[in-house]
């Protein structure tokens, strides 16, 4: 059994868990509370679960690329905040409080570009200046929490934007960004496991010397993946905003922990883009199931049910803790010259 096979098994296991958990929870609760299951599992539920999973999936794919190559980008949350803010700012700059759909797309692109630039600075700190990855990542979060609302306050006189617009639905009542994300997941999988660059990414995180001696510049690979991770997190933030329609910068901002969940999602998905997407969907669906419970009047504390994904992560990490972390994550690679 080779590496991709074992990952496939992990992925299948995860999908199994997803379906299992949801089915059991839904069935048991609808039985206990005598609620028709079709009221619980609606098309809207599926749509919202997908939308919930989308930004997490994008950030998770970025994060797993970086970590596969040996760099732990714990700053995903911060980059998502920047992404969301930039999207809102651009939409506002282009179209005031009533931007067009074209403005939305432009804003998403701008957010990706801005995130890319910011991450480039971050990547230089991590790779060239060998910054501690955990701490620098946390710092990105702090900086995001500070500066995004600060700039928002300068732009709008409030840390939250006024209502802008959200992206129009496409076929089947789904956002085009959901479809785009599905494509991204597929491409990310093929790229990582089927192209030479994907091989390099994997080698950079497992044995950078081997890659170096094969004539590939390890740090160049890592620059690429780290910048990609920030761009994807920014993209995730942009998608979040494009679905929500306005920026909220109070408290922990509208991103509200999704970047952290993204990290958990790819660990859960064993560094496989498809697995990460499945994990994100699991979290999204759990969250939305919680909403359904409230709507149909199943009386369990929302606050407690909201903790379910976190508990699930703990159980799975501990019971199925064999997530194989790339061998040299966190270690800067030094070529002698």
């Amino acid at each position: 059994m080779n590496v991709t096979d074992s990952l496939t098994v992990a992925r299948l296991r995860l999908v199994g868990i997803t379906i299992g958990v949801l089915a059991v929870l839904g069935a048991v609760l609808s039985g206990i509370f005598d609620v028709d299951l079709s009221r619980l599992i609606t098309r809207g539920f599926v749509t919202r679960s997908l939308e919930m999973a989308t930004p997490i999936t994008l950030a998770a794919i970025g994060g797993l690329y970086a970590e596969k190559s040996g760099v732990f980008n714990i700053g995903l949350e911060g980059f998502m905040i920047f992404g969301a803010f930039t999207t809102a700012g651009t939409m506002f700059a282009l179209g005031g409080t009533s931007p067009t759909q074209g403005d939305v797309w432009v804003a998403i692109l701008v957010a990706i570009v801005v995130s890319t630039l910011l991450t480039a600075v971050f990547a230089v700190l991590l790779i060239r200046y060998k910054a501690d990855q955990i701490v620098a990542g946390l710092a990105v979060w702090f900086v995001g929490l500070g500066f995004a609302p600060f700039v928002a306050a300068l732009v709008w006189g409030s840390r939250s934007s006024p209502g802008l617009t959200s992206i129009d639905k496409l076929a089947f009542g789904q956002s085009p960004l959901v479809f785009l994300t599905i494509v991204v997941v597929g491409v990310a999988w093929v790229f990582l496991f089927r192209t030479r660059y994907g091989y390099w990414v994997q080698a950079a995180g497992e044995n950078p010397e081997a890659l170096d001696t094969a004539g590939v510049d390890v740090n160049r690979v890592r620059y690429a993946t780290v910048i990609f991770s920030g761009a994807m997190a920014g993209f995730g933030g942009a998608v979040l905003l494009a679905h929500a329609g306005n920026f909220v910068g109070t408290g922990s901002t509208m991103v509200d922990g999704r970047g952290w969940i993204a990290i958990v999602a790819y660990l859960f998905g064993n560094y496989n883009p498809v697995g990460a997407a499945a994990a994100a969907l699991l979290f999204g669906a759990l969250d939305m199931l919680n909403v359904q419970f409230q709507t149909v009047g199943i009386e369990i504390s929302a606050r407690l049910v909201n903790l379910l994904p976190y508990v699930a992560v703990l159980v799975v990490l501990t019971a199925y803790g064999k997530t194989r972390i790339p061998a040299v994550v966190g270690e800067p690679y030094e070529t002698e010259e």
Partner: protein, 378 residues
């Protein structure tokens, strides 16, 4: 005598070099901390100027807000107490090579269980000073134990389930905030209160004020902070446990070779770290809050503590000045809010930048090498 002569030939030079390097590294760490802070504040001032505020006024308000009056100093010391204690909690774990990102959660459950246990016990203990002392001691013990257990949990999961502690502690932070929030709003909520909070601690649970007359700052708190710092410094440098712990942090294989049980070490480190976090929680509720409220509004001491610890190079003694810096910034941000129109998020951003720069000491080494400051880089 002949030995020392031999040493002075070949070894003497090396000796001097080694000693200089050793000194340099302590100086260098201090230098990096100072440089990071200065650079971050400079960037903050530039941002302030660029967005149309008066940077000089902003800077002076930072200073006045932190140390400009007795009230300011008291406020600074109050935050400093919490930052230092949580910083020590983080430093303990980091020293041992365990990334306890979960100090926030341990701080929350510790404080909450202090409140709950004191309120429960108050019915059995006479009122008055003696009763108050009994309540405070037992409440603090409850906080320490709960914090320790909550810290032990990810330790056990790491040791026996191979679960990455960075992830598990982050998850446990969310769970602590959510679950305690639920408890405060529901089962443990004060039925009389309109706000979301527990019942108040009885009146005899109060620490002597003694300093600056600030009702929320007690000399006991400051002494406790200094005591914990000293205790942890002694434990890490003078005890077998400390040696085991720090050795595990530097090189776990060597620690195992020397007879350290790696799994147990992870658990005891996390427990120790969690106990200090729990103690901080207890101090927070007894000295400052007086009841428990929704933990999502309690402040991010546990997260900022990571930065504090890092700024101090995870040295328990270094945590004192680092905590003072953060306490000062926190205190200043309160002052800036009241007395200026600069959006206070700027200070949050500056704190983020401090952390970012501290994470990249190499940056300053290169700057130093380029500019010829700070002597030769290694």
């Amino acid at each position: 005598m002949s030995d020392s002569e031999a040493a002075s030939n070949g070894g003497g030079v090396l000796d001097a070099v080694a000693a200089r390097l050793l000194d340099a590294s302590v100086l260098e760490r201090i230098g990096i901390a100072v440089a990071s802070t200065t650079l971050a504040i400079l960037i903050g001032l530039v941002v302030a100027a660029a967005t149309g505020y008066d940077p000089v006024q902003f800077a002076s308000q930072l200073l006045v807000g932190a140390f400009g009056s007795e009230r300011a100093i008291a406020r600074t010391l109050r935050s400093t107490t919490l930052f230092v204690l949580t910083g020590v909690a983080v430093a303990i774990a980091f020293r041992a090579g365990v990334f306890n990102i979960g100090v926030q959660g341990q701080f929350v459950v510790g404080g909450f269980s202090t409140v709950v246990s004191i309120i429960w016990l108050a019915a059995f203990v006479p009122s008055g000073t003696v009763g108050g002392i009994v309540l405070m001691l037992s409440g603090t013990a409850a906080g320490v134990v709960t914090g320790g257990l909550y810290g032990a949990l990810p330790g056990v999961m790491k040791a026996y389930g191979d679960a990455n502690e960075i992830i598990t502690t982050i998850m446990l932070n969310f769970i602590a905030t959510g679950f305690v929030g639920w408890l405060v709003a529901g089962p443990f909520g004060d039925p009389e209160a309109t706000a979301t909070r527990t019942r108040r601690l009885p009146d005899n649970v109060e620490l002597p004020q003694a300093v600056f007359g600030d009702p929320n700052l007690s000399i006991v708190g400051i002494l406790l902070m200094l005591g914990v710092v000293a205790l942890v410094a002694v434990i890490t440098s003078r005890t077998r446990f400390g040696y085991d712990m720090v050795t595990s942090g530097y090189q776990d294989t060597a620690a195992t070779y020397s007879g350290v049980d790696a799994k147990r070490m992870v658990i005891s480190t996390m427990t120790f770290s969690g106990m200090v976090a729990g103690l901080t929680g207890a101090l927070f509720v007894i000295m400052i809050q007086g009841y428990y409220t929704d933990p999502s509004g309690i402040g991010n001491y546990g997260f900022d503590a990571i930065a504090v610890s890092l700024l101090a190079a995870n040295n328990p003694l270094g945590v004192l000045p680092a905590g003072l810096l953060f306490g000062g910034l926190e205190s200043a941000s309160s002052h800036v809010q009241i007395n200026s129109d600069v959006p206070v998020q700027l200070i949050d951003g500056i704190v983020g930048l401090v952390v970012l720069f501290v994470a990249a000491p190499e940056l300053f080494r290169m700057i130093a090498a380029r500019t010829g400051l700070g002597g030769d880089a290694e």
